[in-house]
């Protein structure tokens, strides 16, 4: 199998409205391809043609080298996970029944379905015991979105289609869901088509990005690096907007950089030990951790010396906390809002891992630039499959 999905000159014409104009695309197995572009450019229509919720006017769709343009649509859809912005959980069914929908349709036995449901709930970070018998209205928006993803993954489809899946949640939840999803993708390794109209989200999520234009065709289809460094035309350049250098920070994840060692100590340790730890370091703040090693407070020397009260009430709260999956862009964002000028990295369980400060961010900016220059110098970007349209029409 050469490509998981192949679109061959797909066109959709609604009565009096061209929606998608001859889109061709090869999507390699295990990659996240993001469709991005202005409103009305045909992203959703293209996505829905892949699972034939919209039948193409012309062109062909291949899934695992099989021409699926004319096969039974219901059976095709059971092989493809589908997640939409409004989620569309079935309100009259429990979370477990929602997730079990496709396996039940495929005739799995009860035991296997129950096991799969629990496995998926854990995969999306929800306690099966607590959630499997609840109803969608008893969950928060973010939790419902996780269930939507679990439901789409239920029968282990090779392909997932996601239409602005994180578009309806607040920015903080969105960032968390994005990071969780990327971590999950590391485990499940699906081929994913992901629609968004947020450039930052596209750069962060995409192994490859397809930029759609106002002409309902693809302006550029390439890796985020190449799109940022070599926009195919003026349209793409305008669409990316300013701050391409800053956006490049989305290309590096926190776990890829060396964390700064920072003095940290248990909140229960005695004051002299704490003071010693702080003095042995070059920093002016000490990070206090609770019994689960979760960060709780920043304390300065003065906070240690003075003040009555419990250690856990002194100093400043720890605001900027990120997971290793976050991008350096997220980290920078957090850093700016932090009291101490750095972001605390924690693992899945929330336990302290280390700290990112501005240095690795600066280093990343420089190396990214250097890498690109080097690649351009030897012309190796030609090796990266690119598919670009001639000068934009806009």
């Amino acid at each position: 199998m050469e490509h998981m999905i192949r679109l061959d000159e797909l066109t959709k014409r609604f009565p009096g409205q061209l929606a998608v104009d001859s889109v061709s695309m090869d999507i390699p197995e295990g990659e996240i391809v993001v469709f991005v572009g202005p409103s009305g450019c045909g992203k959703t229509t293209t996505l829905k043609m892949i699972n034939r919720l919209i039948e193409p006017t012309s062109g062909r769709i291949f899934l695992e080298d099989e021409d699926v343009t004319r096969i039974n649509a219901d059976r095709l859809r059971r092989r493809i996970g589908y997640v939409i912005q409004q989620i569309g959980l079935f309100p009259h069914m429990t979370i477990a029944s929602n997730i079990a929908t496709v396996p039940r349709t495929l005739g799995w036995d009860k035991q296997r379905i129950a096991e799969r449901v629990d496995e998926l709930l854990e995969l999306v970070g929800m306690d099966p015991e607590a959630y499997r018998d609840r109803y969608p209205k008893e969950l928060s928006g973010g939790q419902n979105q996780r269930v939507g993803v679990a439901r789409a993954l239920a029968a282990d489809p090779a392909v997932m289609l996601m239409d602005e899946p994180f578009g309806a949640v607040d920015p903080i939840t969105r960032e968390r869901l994005q990071n969780e999803f990327l971590r999950l993708q590391d485990e499940v390794n699906k081929t994913i088509c992901f629609v968004t109209h947020d450039v930052d989200e596209a750069i962060k999520m995409g192994d490859r990005i397809a930029i759609f234009g106002d002409d309902h065709g693809i302006q550029q289809f390439d890796t985020p690096e190449m799109i940022l460094s070599h926009p195919a035309n003026e349209f793409v350049e305008d669409f990316l907007g300013s701050g391409a250098a800053l956006k490049r920070l989305h290309l590096r994840r926190v776990r890829e950089v060396a964390l700064t060692a920072w003095p940290a100590a248990g909140v229960a340790e005695d004051r002299d030990t704490l003071r010693e730890k702080l003095e042995d370091s070059e920093q002016s703040f000490l990070l206090l951790l609770d019994e689960q090693r979760q960060p709780v407070r920043w304390v300065s020397r003065r906070d240690l010396e003075r003040g009555e009260g419990r250690m856990a009430d002194r100093g400043l709260p720890v605001a900027a906390i990120i997971e290793p999956h976050a991008t350096l862009h997220d980290a920078l964002d957090e850093m700016i809002t932090s009291n101490v000028g750095c972001a605390v990295v924690v693992d899945r369980e929330g336990a302290y891992q280390g700290v990112v400060d501005i240095d690795p961010v600066m280093t990343a900016v420089n190396t990214l630039r250097a890498e690109l220059r080097e690649r351009l110098a030897v012309g190796s970007w030609h090796a990266v499959p690119t598919e670009t349209v001639e000068e934009g029409t806009s």
Binding site: D74, Y82, G88, H92, T105, Y135, L161
Partner: protein, 216 residues
């Protein structure tokens, strides 16, 4: 009043019998009307034009005076239960068809899209998603239809279908006699009682058949 008390004390068992007859007549018609009405609703709800057509037609049935419709049924089908059930079923259709259409059209489009996107067949979507979600609204229609035909069913006695209408018509026929008033009043009260019982029954049915996730 005293006459009524004595009358009831004496003929209580007969009243009960008629009430049961009445109840069965109504329930038979309602079960039929629910099947037919939901089926019509399912067939038309996707098209606005067909939906208004179905509502208009079932509404037209309601404008036929009940005596006239029962009369027509006697001509076509003959005297007895069968005619009464057919006529009552026809009367019960409007609320059921209308609420089925409203209920099905009210299903969240996102729910429909995700169900379709997951590869549920049209049949599975209807039976497992759309109808269960529309069910509370449909049930309300069934309840309204029931209240409507409980009183119309009294007139069915006129064509020999039995029920509490028997006493009302008896009372009318014996105008002037001592039993006329007690007959009419207890027949009428019986109809009201049957309506109350059915209403309570629907509240229970509603509780039991509405999944927790869509109860308010």
């Amino acid at each position: 009043m005293q006459a009524l008390g004595e009358f009831l004390a004496r003929r209580w068992p007969q009243l009960l019998e008629l009430a049961v007859e009445h109840l069965l007549l109504v329930l038979t018609a309602i079960v039929l009307a629910t099947f037919i009405g939901v089926m019509i609703g399912v067939l038309v709800y996707r098209s606005a034009a067909l939906s208004s057509l179905a509502t208009a037609m079932t509404a037209t049935i309601l404008t036929i005076p009940s005596l006239a419709l029962f009369g027509l049924m006697v001509v076509w089908v003959g005297l007895g239960d069968r005619s009464a059930v057919i006529a009552l079923t026809a009367y019960a259709l409007l609320p059921i068809v209308r609420n089925t259409v409203t209920g099905l059209q009210g299903v969240d489009p996102a729910v429909n899209e995700s169900a379709k996107g997951m590869g549920l067949s049209a049949r599975a979507r209807l039976l497992r998603i759309d109808l269960p979600l529309a069910w509370p609204v449909i049930l309300t229609g069934v309840r309204v239809a029931t209240m409507l035909i409980v009183s119309i069913a009294a007139i069915a006695a006129y064509i020999g279908a039995g029920g509490l209408g028997n006493w009302i018509f008896d009372g009318l026929a014996r105008r002037g006699s001592v039993v006329a008033m007690p007959l009419i009043i207890s027949g009428t009260l019986g109809v009201v009682a049957v309506a109350f019982i059915l209403d309570g029954f629907y509240i229970v049915v509603g509780r039991v058949t509405t999944p927790r996730g869509i109860r308010d």
